[in-house]
């Protein structure tokens, strides 16, 4: 990895990251990837997020689903851990709480494959400073 020696270097690095994302889309038959964020702060891991993450990493390829699975920090929904945020291409992100293996399976089969909602949806309740 190259070091950043100037503002231009930082901008270049950012565009190469964006290009890599773009390339992944092209490789996926020009379709955007499904993005799955797993909340994995100490509290999420303690309530079982790691198992859910492993389940997704194992199961998604088996079921022919290409997705970008990412561990993130706390999403703030401590009362509903483990939580997942799933973004289906061209749709708004959807957050699911109280995810166990059974619900994760349901999310793959119903929400990811068919676009049907499953129990445990958490309405997003904040605005982001972006």
């Amino acid at each position: 990895m190259g070091t950043i020696k100037s503002v231009a270097d930082l901008k270049n690095l950012r565009s190469s990251i964006q290009e890599a994302n773009q390339k992944a889309i092209v490789e996926n038959n020009n379709e955007k990837l499904i993005e799955i964020n797993v909340a994995m702060a100490t509290c999420g891991i303690a309530s079982g997020a790691k198992e859910i993450m492993e389940f997704l990493i194992q199961e998604l390829p088996k079921r022919n689903i290409v997705a970008k699975i990412k561990k993130t920090g706390c999403m703030g929904y401590c009362y509903a851990e483990p939580t997942l945020e799933i973004t289906i291409p061209n749709e708004k992100p959807m957050v699911f709480g109280y995810v166990d293996i059974k619900r994760a399976d349901e999310i793959i089969e119903k929400f990811i494959k068919k676009g049907e909602l499953v129990d445990g949806v958490i309405p997003i309740n904040y605005e982001l400073a972006t």
Binding site: K5, T72, G73, G76, Y79, P123, N125
Partner: protein
């Protein structure tokens, strides 16, 4: 993607909505949908709390994103006929056009938590993609240190660790101290019971803190940064270390950052988890390898801190705000919040509240909005009694303060304090004397022992509270308790002792009747202090089966078969086993 269901009805499954409906909304709607032959077309989904408990039961029609509130049984037909069949929104059930899924009129606004839950904390690329390190680049290449400091002053950002000191002013003072070496310290020694804001930020977005520390170093003229973090946060430490390594590899830390002559490195020092080490002078002593004891200020760390060099200490959350201020401008930040407290505050909601969690709200949001809308109300629909803010140094706020806009000054004026952002909610079952005792127990444990008022005064306060809770208190104890609290507050050396009697003073001010009941009526009004309770046997329900007598561990129950039993209160240890074992509800507490 084939979509089977044309629409989804998201039903809030929060306990508050559930209680408000008095009937099983989901089942009822399912039956209705079947009646209309829509069950193949429309799906009912159980959703987590919408945070709009005051107007429940709530429902969202997805993907239309129309939200209906205060639904009754008779409204269901209207929703089905008008909305689901004819596509017309039932306006009378829509409240204020507040739309939850689409993102308007949200109560929460995330600045410090802007990346938490969205980026992989172990991948610097994720942070860079989200404009990461732009603020540092901008500061180093286009602004002088004074200009950056002026921006922070203008933004109105105040220390989020609890003190509320203007961050920019602190940077300015440290920058004016002349020395060959200066330090930037990040205080990640989060010790308040029930607070986890700093941990969440370090675990979710460590680079924002690293970037801000470098900006601070540039402003004050320091090339060394230290994160003082408690060793009890292993995951935060691991992610911070990974982030530091990545920043170093990319040259974002080290020498000649962004091709300028600014050098900056960051080290980590571990705290052993002493509460007092969150106080900046104690923290500095702990870093120097000395006992974690506070010393009198002045000299302030900005003048003489770590190894006697000027040191700027800021809290994790304070740092997390900095890159956003640089990127979006001081005016933007100053436009959020109240007159004297700008921006947002992260709170850790805990206690008897439905949605325990991490929230970030603009300063000036009321307690009612935090507790009832975001927090989802009190567990089991019980009555709200008080909320403790500011941890063991804070005070409690009661129902009369619910509409108080939260900021540094309003909380202080109401007899509590902002603190680092822990919010512990209590309901009608919590005894305020026992609550004060709990916090004093914590301070007694955590007092460093250096000054007499804190070491011995707090111990005596705790003893008195224990006496009260055990039922041996006298009215004189109350005066003594108040006087000693004031003395400890006035004469202690550091913030820990100066604030530790606050839970006593604020509960005495707000709930004097409870203290009075403990010493005069010999009762605990909420029933939490079990020493006041006595177990009795109900004459009508007792059938004389002897089960309670056989199970009593101290043989305090007497009676013959098929005759009424009696509990000897002299012997009874109030363990409650009799009540648990009785199959006839014949044992009660009074």
């Amino acid at each position: 993607m084939s979509i089977k269901y044309r629409k989804n009805l998201l039903i809030c499954s929060g306990s508050s909505c559930h209680d408000a409906s008095n009937f099983d909304l989901m089942d009822f709607i399912n039956v209705k949908l079947k009646e209309y032959g829509l069950d193949d077309d429309i799906q009912v989904v159980q959703s987590v709390c919408f945070n709009k408990c005051s107007i429940g039961p709530n429902m969202i029609v997805y993907p239309d994103n129309v939200e209906y509130s205060t639904i009754t049984k008779s409204d269901i037909d209207d929703i089905i006929i008008e909305h689901l069949l004819n596509g017309r929104i039932v306006e009378r059930l829509v409240y204020n056009d507040v739309n939850i899924i689409s993102g308007t009129h949200k109560k929460q606004y995330r600045i410090a938590l802007r990346n938490c839950g969205f980026i992989d904390p172990e991948a610097i690329e994720d942070y860079i993609e989200k404009d990461g390190y732009d603020a540092l680049a901008k500061c180093l290449t286009t602004f002088t240190p004074e200009e950056v400091t002026q921006q922070i002053i203008k933004s109105g950002l105040r220390g989020r660790g609890g003190g509320g000191f203007p961050t920019g002013v602190k940077w300015d003072i440290t920058s004016k101290s002349v020395a060959e070496q200066k330090y930037v310290v990040c205080n990640a020694d989060e010790g308040d019971p029930g607070a986890f804001m700093d941990r969440s930020i370090l675990e979710g977005d460590p680079h924002s803190v690293i970037e801000a520390m470098a900006i601070c170093g540039y402003c004050i003229g320091a090339n060394k940064g230290i994160v003082y973090i408690r060793a009890e946060y292993p995951l935060a430490i691991k992610r911070l270390k990974i982030a530091l390594d990545q920043a170093k590899e990319y040259g974002l830390l080290g020498s000649q950052i962004f091709g300028t002559d600014f050098n900056f490195t960051i080290d980590i020092k571990y705290g052993a988890g002493a509460f007092v080490c969150g106080e900046e002078t104690a923290l500095i002593h702990s870093m120097e390898g000395l006992r974690g004891e506070p010393t009198l200020k002045p000299p302030f760390p900005s003048v003489s801190g770590y190894l006697k060099y000027p040191t700027n200490v800021n809290n994790v959350e304070t740092f997390a705000n900095i890159p956003a201020i640089i990127n979006k401008g001081a005016d933007w930040f100053a436009s959020i919040g109240t007159e004297k407290s700008k921006g947002t505050k992260v709170f850790a909601l805990a206690g008897k509240i439905n949605n325990v969690g991490l929230i970030e709200v603009p300063m000036g949001t009321t307690l009612r909005e935090v507790i009832y809308d975001i927090g989802g109300g009190i567990v089991d629909g019980k009555k709200f009694k008080a909320v403790q803010t500011g941890g063991p140094s804070g005070g409690c706020l009661t129902e009369k303060d619910l509409d108080l806009p939260i900021d540094f000054d309003s909380l202080t004026a109401a007899g509590s304090m902002m603190g680092s952002g822990g919010m512990i909610v209590m309901d009608e079952d919590d005894c305020m004397v026992a609550m004060a005792k709990f916090y004093l127990e914590f301070t007694v444990e955590e007092s460093c022992g250096k000054c007499v008022p804190c070491r011995i005064g707090n111990k005596r306060l705790h003893e008195m509270l224990t006496k009260l809770c055990d039922g041996y208190g006298t009215p004189e104890d109350l005066d003594l308790l108040r006087n000693l609290s004031v003395v400890v507050k006035d004469t202690s050396l550091c913030g820990l002792g100066q604030t530790s009697p606050n839970p006593i003073l604020s509960t005495m001010a707000n709930f004097y009747d409870e203290y009075h009941a403990h010493v005069v009526d010999h009762k605990c009004p909420s029933g939490q202090c079990t020493s006041f309770l006595k177990y009795y046997i109900d004459e009508e329900n007792c059938i004389g089966c002897l089960v309670c007598a056989r199970n009593c561990p101290v043989n305090a129950i007497f009676g013959e078969k098929k005759k009424l039993h009696i509990i000897n209160h002299e012997i009874c240890i109030k363990c409650g086993i009799c009540m648990e074992r009785c199959k006839f509800d014949a044992i009660y507490i009074k």
